[in-house]
């Protein structure tokens, strides 16, 4: 993994980019933090936020010419937030006298400040803080300069004096009634390490560096009105602060310009959109300043502009309260750590890799590819937690095994000749299709492992339908069948090493069959084929339905409104989106489009094997999706249906409405267990072989001499703990044959254990003859050495 390139990408995330109010404030007051404290009614904290950035905040906060307000994003939707008015009230209600200043050793050098006005006082204080011995030369008998113009209006003289007294308290020397002019300036230049000129007016016009305020390469720095060329108090204060930074760098001989790009007013990359913002008008003042309640109400209008499009859209980022920039830094840390805990593992395995963040990001930053690369890297370095994906990968192995895996050409004419008689041949499109058998496989129906697990009984019917409609139009192209797993679980788990087992087999079959078009019924298969098997031409089953017409089944036309939950794996496949909508409408349903539809589809929580690695996170995804609409949901991915039903949302697979099984809308929808899913795959293969190819397969399932009794509670526990019925059977069988078990004389229960591969399963049961009633199941991965 190229971690440096990754970190570069994190810098493009603008989540931490400041709002325009802060960027247009010459001293960068943290307006969002300020407004938030006011909303909470904590005026003391609000004042502290002002104080952190605004010099003499008790004074400037009352007279600031607020350049921020003219840039406020609220401007067009109810009027700019009156930040300047909020500041006035924050001072009145939240001012606390500052702590007694710490007297710092002043040994870094000597600086003369010419002019004790606002900018001069700011520069003096800043330089004093940095450890310089500062002397102010003021031509009048008081400090403050233009501040006194506000006396009696916005500022009280007592407060001006009190605030400026900090200069004396800090031990800064002030020479009053001492005018410095161009004529004697040189004397001061020679006497001090650096000079700050902030007199407002001066007889000679010096060329001032626009960023450093330095005059050529000399020790003279100019700020205040001489530099700003306006009468803004906040710009003046800012120039004093910035000049102090320059003087410090000049004296300490460090770079005058490094890392100063965003000093003063700058342009933020944040472009907050107001399309969906409801206008709220400015709160009117009932007195000269806002009252406590008025100020809170005005603050509440603030949009707190921040780019959070991805966070709003993604419950994963919400659960871990993380943004792409910090996420990437966590990954970087997790990847580089040598000793210690990889604390980001769970987070990395909780992303569904659905790609929505990239769709909503104004800069196109997406976590999907990053997470995928990270998981691969974790696997390669042996740092991927085994438990995260173990169950799903074992289930994939099951699909690859002879229990499910099956490839067949369309039954030959010879095989099917018993169908070719009246009336079958006249009324069955399927029989006619077989009759036209060409021996050349033009299409291969690939239903995928999950659809086969949960919608088992549709597969045979779909296959017959496909043979019928396709042979009717394309006599040359037979339709074959391929049961298997595309390898999506391995891809999600970052197990590149396991991909060939799926992909190479598919590729070989495709070649051997004469490069047929695959008919896919699963969105994850579609995405895996696109990624790993781009040479294979595919078409979705939904497109076939939309193109060739729906199967002739006795269906009642629905009148209900359904919301369509698009599959995230095919978010960019417009053909699928259109086909599905066309089918739904043909069947008489009306469609409610969700806010997050089509290319903005939200994941159901199955993606990325999150349901396996972090079930709680998967539940967040389901609930988020389920609550998007009141209506029942229509899906076209078997996993989506499973997840939604599990989350108690009524969901129909598109096959349910095509085959008229959207019956009894009040009956609870059943969720199949993990064991039932495996059994269904096994059963499907046997059924299809028998029904379509007339092949009888010996039943490979093991039979036992005992009968297991499992309550609903135990079944639920097995699901939660990823324990299969076959695991329980193996434990019980082993304990009965080897008598390796514990006995509890008080409860009369038995407790047995068996290690199956890398997991030890425990079963507590009651035995009555051959009846075994299971009372508890659990497992652990830690291996116990019994010797």
């Amino acid at each position: 993994m190229d971690l440096d390139a990754l970190l570069e990408m994190s810098n493009q995330c603008i989540h931490s980019e400041p709002p325009v109010c802060m960027a247009s404030c010459p001293v960068h007051m943290d307006v969002i933090a300020f407004v938030t404290e006011i909303e909470k009614g904590d005026f003391a904290k609000a004042y502290k936020v002002m104080e952190a950035k605004i010099p003499f905040s008790r004074l400037i906060g009352k007279i600031c010419d607020h350049p921020c307000e003219s840039h406020c994003v609220r401007k067009e939707v109810g009027g700019s937030i009156r930040i300047s008015e909020l500041e006035k009230t924050a001072i009145d209600l939240g001012y606390t006298s500052p702590k007694k200043p710490l007297l710092m050793p002043k040994n870094k050098g000597t600086v003369a400040v010419i002019g004790g006005g606002l900018s001069g006082c700011v520069a003096a204080i800043e330089l004093d803080k940095k450890g310089y011995n500062v002397t102010i030369y003021e031509k009048t008998d008081r400090l403050g300069g233009s501040l006194w113009a506000y006396e009696g209006q916005d500022l009280e003289s007592a407060i001006i004096e009190e605030e400026l007294s900090v200069i004396a308290k800090k031990g800064i020397t002030v020479w009053y009634n001492t005018e410095v002019t161009e004529a004697n300036l040189q004397t001061y230049i020679e006497k001090y390490d650096a000079l700050y000129l902030g007199t407002g007016a001066w007889s000679k016009a010096y060329a001032i560096h626009p960023e450093t305020f330095q005059v050529n390469d000399t020790s003279l720095f100019i700020g205040g009105t001489l530099q700003t060329q306006n009468h803004s108090s906040i710009f003046s204060a800012s120039s004093g602060k910035r000049a102090a930074v320059s003087i410090d760098r000049y004296i300490t001989k460090t770079s005058m310009s490094a890392s100063r790009e965003r000093e003063g007013v700058f342009e933020t990359k944040l472009d907050y959109k107001i399309d969906t913002v409801q206008p709220i008008v400015e709160v009117a003042k009932t007195a000269s300043v806002y009252s406590e309640s008025e100020v809170q109400e005005e603050a509440s209008r603030c949009l707190k502009c921040q780019c959070d499009a991805c966070i709003k859209a993604c419950v994963h980022m919400q659960r871990f309260s993380i943004t792409p920039d910090r996420y990437i830094r966590s990954i970087n840390h997790n990847e580089r750590i040598v000793l210690g805990n990889r604390s980001a593992n769970l987070m990395i395995n909780s992303c569904t890799e659905c790609g929505l963040c990239k769709e909503v990001c104004p800069f196109g930053i997406g976590m999907k590819d990053i997470i995928h690369a990270t998981r691969q890297s974790m696997v390669e370095r042996g740092k991927m937690p085994i438990s995260a994906h173990d169950f799903a990968l074992k289930d994939m192995q099951f699909s690859h095994s002879d229990y499910f895996s099956l490839v067949r050409k369309q039954p030959s004419k010879e095989q099917s000749k018993n169908l070719f008689y009246y009336p079958v041949i006249a009324f069955s499109q399927y029989a006619r299709g077989l009759y036209k058998g060409s021996g050349k496989t033009g299409y291969l129906f690939y239903p995928g492992c999950q659809l086969s697990s949960t919608h088992t009984d549709y597969i045979g019917a779909i296959y017959k339908y496909l043979v019928g409609v396709i042979k009717e139009k394309e006599a040359d192209n037979d339709v074959g069948l391929y049961l298997g797993c595309c390898g999506a679980p391995a891809d999600w788990a970052g197990r590149l090493d396991l991909m060939p087992e799926s992909v190479e087999k598919i590729h070989k079959t495709w070649e051997e069959m004469g490069e047929p078009t695959f008919i896919l019924a699963c969105s994850s298969c579609a995405s895996t084929f696109e990624k790993y098997l781009p040479m294979i031409k595919t078409i979705s089953l939904w497109e076939v339905f939309a193109t060739y017409g729906l199967p002739e089944v006795d269906i009642k036309k629905g009148k209900r409104e359904l919301c369509i939950h698009d599959a995230c794996a095919t978010r960019h496949n417009a053909k699928i989106h259109e086909s599905v909508r066309s089918i739904v409408k043909t069947l008489g349903y009306s469609v409610e489009e969700l806010e997050y539809a089509k290319e903005k589809a939200k994941c159901c929580g199955y993606g990325g094997l999150v349901a396996c690695a972090n079930p709680e996170q998967a539940e967040d995804f389901v609930q988020d999706r389920a609550h998007e609409s009141e209506h029942d949901v229509l899906v076209y991915c078997a996993m989506c249906k499973d997840m939604l039903v599990k989350g108690n949302k009524r969901a129909y697979h598109i096959l349910d409405i095509i085959y008229g099984n959207e019956i009894n809308p009040d009956a609870p929808q059943k969720m199949l267990t993990l064991s039932e899913r495996q059994n269904n795959r096994k059963r499907l293969k046997q059924q299809l072989l028998k029904e379509i190819w007339n092949e009888e397969e010996s039943d490979m399932s093991k039979t036992y001499d005992f009968t297991l009794h499992l309550s609903d509670a135990i079944i639920a526990l097995m699901e939660k703990r990823f324990i299969l019925l076959s695991d329980v059977e193996k434990v019980v069988e082993h304990s009965l044959t080897c008598k390796e078990r514990f006995y509890n004389p008080e409860t009369l229960d038995f407790l047995a254990r068996l290690r199956v591969n890398n997991v030890t399963f425990w079963v507590k049961y009651e035995e009555h003859g051959s009846d075994i009633t299971v009372k508890d199941v659990y497992s652990h991965r830690m291996e116990v050495v019994e010797d």
């Binding site: 805990n341 080897c738 390796e740 514990f742 008080e746 652990h780 116990v784 019994e786």
Partner: protein, 68 residues
């Protein structure tokens, strides 16, 4: 792996008809090898692990080893 587990139980070994005793037992997961006191049959050495132990301390240790 430090652990405090049950030192007595009503469970007994069904094959040997012996009460279980608390003894040092070797356990291992990934790179971790530990010796812990667990209940076992003094005759056939079959080790008893309760649900609380499996889903508590053992799970915790497994997770922390996986994140190492």
């Amino acid at each position: 792996m430090e652990t405090k587990t049950e030192t007595t139980t009503t469970w007994m070994c069904d094959k040997c008809h012996k009460a279980l005793v608390s003894q040092k037992v070797k356990v291992r997961y990934l790179e971790g090898n530990f010796e812990v006191e667990l209940l076992k049959c003094p005759t056939c050495n079959m080790v008893f692990i309760s649900e609380d132990l499996a889903l508590g301390k053992i799970l915790e240790v497994e997770k922390s080893l996986e994140d190492k």
